[in-house]
Amino acid sequence: MTAVLAPSTPKPLGELRPRRVPEHWWGYLLLLPAVVLVLGLVLYPVGYSFWLSLHSKHAYMPIQNWVGLDNFIFFLTDYDGFWRSLWLGTIYAFGTVTLQVIVGVAAALVLNETFVGRGFIRGLTLFPYMLPTIVVVILMRWLFNDSIGVVKYLLESTVVTRAMVWFAPETIMLTMILVSTWTFFPFVVIGVLARLQTIDPELYAAAQIDGAGAFRRFVHITLPQIASVLFVVVLLRFMFMFTKFDTIWLFAGAGGLGSYVRTLPIYTFIKSFGELQVGMGAALAVIMFAMIAAFVTIYFRLFTRSEEM
């Protein structure tokens, strides 16, 4: 760990000049702006969040009362709010991460082959990930439009016989999962493709001589080689999707249809800035943080156990 994070330390330059200020003071001084920013604008807010979660506080008005664990106790029985959001958020995160990994690995395998125009298609494949969220949202709302959208037209004039509705209570979660998959699968491609390029081609040549087909080569050579990358990618993607706010909020909105994809981040935003209960919003943030910490712990346990087998 240390060897990776702290490569050879260059020897200090200080001896070159007559010393007025001790050398290490300069180090602290130059690091100070960065530390102040991160301390003040990330770590302090996180701590403040914990403190806020124990209060009942209005977003604008100077109303602030100590309520202890009341916010958390409230969510325990908040079936239509908290528990439903947790359920929807879990479906969303699992659904889209699964699809992202399948599509991402498949795309990486294709992009690792040689073909005419590979460089161009590699660049193009990464592009959805670079698009600003607002552009993804308006573009997808247009493509999936229920009256004159081109996706509906293409599907109904080819494979689908009955009318498609993408923006309905029953289908909005599926639409949301597909849109998120389109936007975020390039993240999987970047990681997996980089790893694929380092696999020794001789492994495949040997397997081919032994008579292994494409599928067996994938299962026995490729998969074990990319397993460690997938481990990190899945972890990060799950954390990102579980806390994803802007794509869902902009795509489905707050009320009406949005309530069918109201995941925990959306619920947090509504509580904080819709109902102006920032204490409750902070409590939800704390709960999300605890869940992610628990998820990471369990995830590492499972992974190391399967390694031992």
């Binding site: 240390t2 070159l16 130059l30 690091l31 298609i121 247009w142 706010f245 999300m288």
Partner: protein, 276 residues
């Protein structure tokens, strides 16, 4: 032979699917933005138009405040980029060139902050900014985006700085250059690919952000593009041609930066690999 042809066919078909999946939506956005209105709203869409024109772009810039949002976004993203480079260069220099206690601890703690998703800190962040009087100001946004990109930027620059031989700086200083001068004339130019990568990363973070811009900015004349476009989209009967035109314009800076970063990132990593 048959196996080879089958394999080649499979590769090209899959590549074709990727091309359609990622390219078609972009093509459709550009096409819609230049189509005449009657072609946009017809039930059977046209997949090409002979009657392309830029009316939608003209409507976008003349009948809405899009230009204001655009300038605001440039201001905020540009400001955040400059500030990030300044702070990250100082920090990375401190970490690679000076020995002091807690150096590694600080570097790792910074990376640790990526554990906290934006939605988890937006509530206390808003309250703090409110009491600091930085709500409805671009400065508040610039500070937030700088903070978000700082840990990544510092680590990126740190690895670049480590690959620059100390002898070069020493030589410059023996020749009479002051240390700030040696940093500005030798260290930063040699780490240019890293500085560019960091700038692009920060610019895109700031350019794309919706959440903090939504929460911290209320005044219409101060809104950045993501918030402005959302309001544009929701306030009227959707003028798809104009909305897609907005999408194209917002994408262009991200595209330009993306193309630039790709090349520099690869060459930067390559140089790092040679160095070991």
């Amino acid at each position: 032979m048959f196996g080879y042809i089958a394999q080649r066919t499979a590769v090209y078909v899959s590549a074709g699917i990727l091309l359609l999946m990622c390219g078609f939506p972009l093509y459709w956005m550009v096409l819609t933005s230049v189509k005449p209105d009657r072609e946009i709203i017809q039930a059977i869409p046209t997949f090409f138009t002979w009657d392309a024109h830029l009316d939608a772009y003209q409507r976008l810039f003349t009948t809405t405040r899009f230009l204001t949002y655009f300038i605001n976004s440039i201001t905020v993203a540009g400001g955040a980029t400059l500030l990030t480079i300044l702070v990250a260069v100082l920090a990375a220099y401190a970490i690679t060139r000076f020995r002091f206690r807690g150096r590694e601890f600080v570097a790792r703690t910074m990376l640790f902050t990526y554990m906290f998703a934006p939605i988890m800190i937006v509530v206390p962040f808003y309250i703090m900014m409110r009491s600091a009087g930085l709500v409805n100001s671009h400065l508040g946004l610039i500070l937030s985006y700088t903070t978000f990109s700082l840990p990544f930027s510092m680590w990126m620059l740190r690895s670049f700085f480590q690959s620059i031989p100390l002898e070069l700086e020493e030589a410059a200083m023996i020749d009479g250059a002051s240390r700030p001068k040696a940093v500005a004339l030798i260290v930063v130019p040699m780490a240019l690919p890293g500085v560019i990568a960091v700038s692009i990363f920060t610019f895109i973070v700031a350019w794309n952000d919706y959440l903090f811009a939504r929460v911290l900015i209320g005044a219409d004349e101060l809104k950045t593009l993501p918030v402005g476009i959302q309001d544009l989209y929701e306030s009227t009967v959707t003028d798809w041609g104009m909305v897609m035109a907005a999408g194209v314009v917002v994408t262009i800076p991200a595209l330009v930066f993306f193309v630039a970063v790709q090349r520099y990132l690869i060459s930067g990593w390559g140089a790092g690999a040679i160095k070991g």
